[in-house]
């Protein structure tokens, strides 16, 4: 068990920067998820922690030890790869015990540890099989078993579920969460899937262009995104972004989105937004905060009518799309209340959840 610390890590591939100065503190037993679009440097960061890539500059600590020059085998880490990377010529037992055998553990202990890991993962009946006789989900379990038996300081996961089909992915996600609750080893998990990040993480690290945009609990990054990138990346469907102008409206403030649509800023936000009056801004609101109009209106909400452009029934809810000055806006409404395409529908925006973004810095105010 150990904490991991990254200090101003930079990684250059030739002259292309992949990671541009990352600082990250991971505490003992924490489950950290690095998430971001492809090419954001998340996998490179993980590989630097593993020792598979050398950091161009900066310091990596595992426990209290500076590990920059320590080879992977001496870092006491275990890694699970996207394509499983099982040794094809070995049985499941041999795959899981390979690391222990290399370290010359006594045979009874090896057997004991493999059995214990196999029980956690529910693969005790597969120990004599070879990888090619296993399904994708089973292979993924074996890959995790190989990591668990080593009892390492840190688990590293590199997009472990990307090769599985959608249903199995959800199932394995729950499984990983359960395993972490049992094994409680410090874990760094890389994924491009924000749902995985939200469901698994103690803290989510959102990376963009080789930098960290935000570190925070799933709740934090969802409700208080620091940048427009984070706001857009977390959440599905993605947050609506609309160019707007902040104007004074008597005592209060209003966001003017178009000729026909202006929404009042809730009083609790007025102090924060007042310095921006008169400026061009970006207004952000998640689809789940645009609901169907009902009788009662909670404070801070505003109702408006919109002509529906597209209607997507999803079963438990329906997505409705309408156009505001050429920008498509999505709302999530009750299927029973959803209108038809071309018709006007009464919608309510919960402005307590709104975000205002400075278009030059892309930082949420």
């Amino acid at each position: 068990m150990a904490q991991v610390a990254l200090r101003n890590i930079v990684k250059m591939f030739d002259r292309t920067p992949a990671v541009q100065g990352i600082d990250l503190d991971i505490s003992d037993r924490e489950f950290i998820v690095l998430v971001g679009p492809s090419g954001c440097g998340k996998s490179t960061t993980l590989r630097m922690i593993a020792g598979l890539e050398e950091a161009t500059s900066g310091e990596i600590y595992i426990g209290d030890q500076l590990v920059n020059d320590v080879p992977p085998k001496d870092r006491d880490i275990a890694m699970v790869f996207q394509n499983y990377a099982l040794y094809p010529h070995m049985t499941v037992f041999e795959n899981m015990s390979f690391g222990l055998r290399l370290k010359k553990f006594p045979k009874p202990e090896i057997r004991e540890r493999v059995q214990a890991a196999a029980r956690i993962l529910d693969i005790t009946n597969l120990l004599d099989r070879r990888p090619k006789q296993l399904s994708g989900g089973q292979r993924q379990r074996v890959a995790m078993g190989r990591a668990i038996v080593r009892n390492p300081k840190v688990f590293l996961f590199d997009e472990p579920l990307s090769n599985l089909d959608a249903k199995l992915r959800v199932q394995m996600r729950t499984e990983i969460k359960k395993i972490h609750q049992t094994v409680t080893t410090t874990t760094v998990y890389v994924t491009h899937d924000q749902v995985e990040a939200m469901t698994l993480a103690d803290r989510v690290v959102i990376m963009n262009g080789g930098r960290i945009d935000q570190i925070g609990s799933p709740h934090e990054v969802y409700h208080k995104p620091r940048t427009q990138f984070v706001a857009g990346f977390i959440g599905s469907p993605t947050m609506n972004f609309l160019p707007c102008r902040l104007v004074e409206n008597g005592a209060g403030l209003t966001v003017r989105l178009s000729d026909w649509l202006a929404l009042p800023v809730p009083p609790s936000r007025e102090a924060r937004y007042r310095p921006r009056v008169g400026q061009e801004m970006i207004f952000g609101l998640r689809p789940e905060h645009i609901r169907e109009g009902r009788g009662d209106m909670p404070p801070g909400s505003a109702a408006f009518d919109a002509r529906l452009d597209v209607v997507e029934p999803m079963g438990m809810e329906t997505m409705v799309y309408f156009i505001v000055d050429g920008v498509e806006v999505c709302g999530r409404v009750d299927p029973a209340a959803a209108g038809n395409v071309g018709e006007s529908m009464r919608l309510v925006a919960d402005l307590n959840q709104m975000h205002l973004i400075d278009p030059r810095t892309e930082v949420v105010i």
């Binding site: 593993a50 020792g51 598979l52 080879p71 992977p72 085998k73 880490i77 275990a78 890694m79 790869f81 996207q82 394509n83 990377a85 099982l86 040794y87 094809p88 010529h89 390979f98 690391g99 290399l102 370290k103 190989r146 080593r150």
Partner: protein, 304 residues
Amino acid sequence: MTMTTAAAAAGQIGRARYGSISRGRRRALFWSYFFLILFVIFFLTPPVYMFITSLKSSAEISAATNPWWVYHPTLSNYIDLLTQNQFLIFFRNSAIVSICVVSITMVVSIFAAFALARMRFWGSATLATGVFLTYLIPESLLFIPLFKTFAYIHDKTGIELINHWWVLIILYPTLTVPFATWLMIGYFSSIPKELDEAALIDGAGYIQMLTRIFIPVAIPGIIAAMIFSFTVSWANFLYPLAFTTSADQLVLPVGIVTTLIRGDVYAWGQIMTGALLGAAPPLIIYAFLMDYYISGLTAGATKG
């Protein structure tokens, strides 16, 4: 019989339902068998002829009888050859040379291929291409400079390398190592990178990674390379012809030709017997390793 009738019945039903498909399939089968038979005739005629001739006495060979039939079969050629000490020496020389060459080739090429395929170092890509290019230089161009080199070594050190059978152990790897290395590079490259990374994290060093992951996974490729180098060293004719002369220093291919052809007298019966016996070891090895050989060649080619 039951099987043929069952197949015919199945064919009847098949034709009734899917006439064109079954007709297309039968036509394809007809042509594949046609060419296979052509191929078999083309390639099996020489060994069959050798076998028939090896069972004849010299008199029958020179007699104007049907060359494709043995009227008075005899094993005298076999007995003569196998009781001759000389032939057994050729065989022994060939066997030792081939075994040593295969061993040397595999050790050198596995290490070289592993380094070239996996350890990225300055110039590794150029070197890998260079290895293959050396394979393209024909041996007939190489033996004269090699001869000069040996003479130079003799002048400087007094070590005589010419006219010793064991010198072929040094010579043949110049032919086998480049191709075997190239084959192994292709094979090792097809092993996913994550496999060595997993091994690295599991605590393996480079040598353990090679012996415990790469070699077991690449067994088909290794066997293909072994068969290749065995065939080269067993059957090479030019180098032993150029570098060895004394009868006790010869290997099988040259030995048969130089000792069984005296002036313009050809001991055809014994030549055929010797060639047939000489072809037996590779044949036996092929038969045992054929499955590996095929999967080795194709796996290397398709990367995966």
